[in-house]
């Protein structure tokens, strides 16, 4: 139980990453693949946050006098996650725009039926 309590965020984060990867690898509908990508990115962001998180820690900017460094949450991963979220948003917007065009060309979003290019 102690293991579960200590590592619950990591377990959740990697759980999301693997769920996302599984969806991307097994689904044939492009929209589902994009949902998988979004879940994968959420998992990565959660992982980055949990790297710097301390249970019951406070933000360093509100630190009371006499507060120990060990009780403050590391702010750097949170800045990283902000950037990663913005990048993820850009990718998501682009891929959705592309899938609209794909649907106009092929009339389907089933990736098994889209075979314009071959090896």
């Amino acid at each position: 139980m102690a293991f579960l309590q200590d590592y619950i965020y990591y377990i959740g984060a990697f759980g999301l990453v693997f769920i996302g990867l599984f969806i991307m690898l097994t689904k044939h509908n492009l929209i589902k693949v994009i949902i998988g990508l979004s879940i994968l990115e959420t998992g990565v962001n959660l992982f980055l946050i949990s790297v710097g998180y301390i249970t019951n820690g406070t933000a360093p900017i509100f630190s009371k006098p006499g507060l120990n460094v060990r009780e403050m949450v590391d702010p750097v991963p949170q800045a990283l996650v902000l950037t990663a979220i913005v990048i993820g948003l850009a990718v998501l917007a682009l891929v959705l725009a592309l899938s609209i065009r794909l649907y106009k060309h092929f009339g389907t979003l089933d990736l098994r039926k889209i075979k314009e290019l071959k090896w």
Binding site: V17, L21, M24, L30, V33, L37, L40, E41, V44, F47, L48, V51, G52, D74, V76, P77, L80, T83, A84, I87, A90, V91, L94, V95, L98, S99, R101, L102, H105, F106, I114, E116, L117, W119
Partner: protein, 489 residues
């Protein structure tokens, strides 16, 4: 002295100004990238002497290195920055007459963003910053692959995007793990503390980062997107993707392997991976009927050769790898640019449709031939000098295994020769088709191709011209302690 940060800021600034400047004059928008990259080329050339002597450290946040983001303009960084700006100038000049359809100002905006991202990747000294610039590069190349908006373009852009974004996520997990271990994002700082963590725990972040970056670099099992994306993009973008984007991806792999981690136990794996990539790329290229797909597969092969050269891990081998990167950029960019106008002329990408084009477009066909000769490695051209350097470095190892691998590398070169000479034979010696009038490519298209070709011949005849920058660059990659010292002080 000029601040190196301008190399990144100017293209990004111009890129975001482009949609606004469009309202003033639609006709002049296409000259913005030319001007921007001429400026970049001038700045990077003026920085070369200082950067070779002692790496320039630019503190972007004003704090001393382990904190805030730094740019490290060392020999490797300035070598790649110069190469990127050179290709940027020439290809944007080519695009003046090549890009005629579609939303042009968006093309020029994304083009500048792509190259700004590439410059950022090679100059940054911060691992998360590397990720951000890498994403700028990737996202703009996804959009540019889909630029023509036809079936093939959209399909390959989606393939590229899905695979590329899995790669970036893996890279980000790797960076997160490294931050968890070391509490720092500065590459030199991580490199100096790498010995304090058990090697078995470092394997996972290393594998994640190499896989993530390897997708962009198209190392063998991760190269499925490359032939589609490079053949469906407009030719000027194929030239940049083949000449710059994958080389930058490979630079990032090499930087992570050589500077961040201790690679010595990993080199044999990379060596074999390089040779496998080389053989597979060349074999697939041989069976292609489509000229751009053939060039794209040949890029995979060249990437394999460069990985092989770097994994030799001697001063000479790494130098050979860097030299081969330069030679590949020049030759492959020239080939794609020449192929672009030949495709315009014949209206088809099939190699068989190029029959007799050697007589209809003599200069373009001649430039294409120079590119193929250089890529195969015939003597007066730059490809010979770089391949010779790699083979010599491998022979200097003096072990049975290396001799065997050299045999395979040379075999791959023979395969490369066979399919490139087949194209040349079709161009010059097969019956000429009627219906194509005799006319050259436009002059703005010819000038950059001629500059590429003359650089190929000039450096091929006189390799010492760039040895002065390749040697310090190779020792920067090999000797990570001097890199750490120069960054952390």
């Amino acid at each position: 002295m000029v601040n190196p940060v301008l190399l990144i800021v100017v293209p990004i600034g111009l890129a975001f100004l482009t949609p606004i400047l469009r309202f003033i004059s639609k006709k002049w928008v296409k000259f913005i990238p030319v001007l921007g990259f001429i400026f970049n080329l001038a700045v990077s050339i003026s920085l070369i002497p200082a950067a070779i002597h002692d790496p320039l450290i630019v503190k972007l946040g004003g704090f001393a290195p382990p904190f805030s983001i730094v740019l490290v303009v060392g020999p490797v960084g300035i070598l790649f920055a110069t190469l990127i700006s050179l290709a940027g100038v020439l290809v944007s000049f080519y695009a003046l007459s090549y890009i005629k359809e579609g939303p042009q100002q968006k093309y020029h905006m994304l083009y500048m963003l792509l190259l700004a991202g590439a410059t950022g990747v090679v100059l940054t000294g911060d691992i998360f910053n590397l990720f951000v610039f890498f994403e700028i590069l990737c996202i703009s190349s996804y959009a540019l692959v889909a630029y023509l908006g036809n079936k093939a373009g959209i399909e390959s852009a989606i393939k590229y995007l899905i695979q590329g974004s899995i790669g970036s996520s893996l890279l980000l997990v790797g960076i997160g793990l490294l931050y968890g271990y070391f509490g720092t994002l500065n590459m030199a700082d991580i490199a100096s503390q790498i010995g304090t963590v058990d090697a078995s725990r470092l394997f996972i972040p290393m594998a994640l980062m190499i896989t993530g970056l390897g997708i962009e670099a198209a190392i063998f099992p991760l190269n499925a997107w490359l032939p589609d994306a490079h053949s469906s993009a407009p030719s000027s973008i194929s030239a940049i993707l083949s000449g710059i984007a994958i080389e930058v991806g490979l630079y990032a792999v090499i930087r992570v392997l050589f500077t961040l981690f201790d690679v010595s136990s990993f080199l044999l794996f990379m060596l074999v991976l390089g040779v496998v990539t080389l053989i597979i790329g060349e074999l697939c290229a041989m069976s292609q009927k489509n000229i751009k797909r053939m060039l794209a597969y040949s890029s995979i092969g060249q990437i394999g050769l460069i990985v092989f050269a770097f994994s030799l891990s001697s001063n000479f081998g790494v130098g050979g790898g860097l030299f081969q990167m330069i030679s590949h950029t020049l030759s492959k960019a020239l080939l794609f640019l020449a192929a672009g106008f030949m495709i315009y002329k014949t209206g088809s990408m099939e190699i068989s449709s190029f029959e007799g084009i050697g007589r209809k477009m003599p200069l373009t066909a001649l430039l294409f031939t120079i590119g193929t000769f250089s890529l195969v490695g015939l003597p007066p051209f730059v490809g010979f000098a770089s391949k010779f350097m790699i083979i010599r470095a491998a022979l200097a190892k003096g072990e049975m295994l290396y001799t065997l691998l050299i045999g395979l590398v040379l075999l791959a070169t023979v395969i490369e020769g066979s399919y490139f000479f087949k194209v040349i034979q079709v161009m010059y010696f097969k019956g000429s088709k009627t219906g194509i009038t005799k006319s050259e490519s436009p002059i703005t298209g010819l000038i950059p191709m001629i500059i590429f070709a003359s650089l190929i011949i000039f450096i091929g005849v006189y390799p010492e011209f760039i040895m002065g920058i390749i040697n310090p660059a190779a020792s920067e990659l090999i000797d990570k302690f001097s890199y750490i010292r120069s960054v952390l002080g």
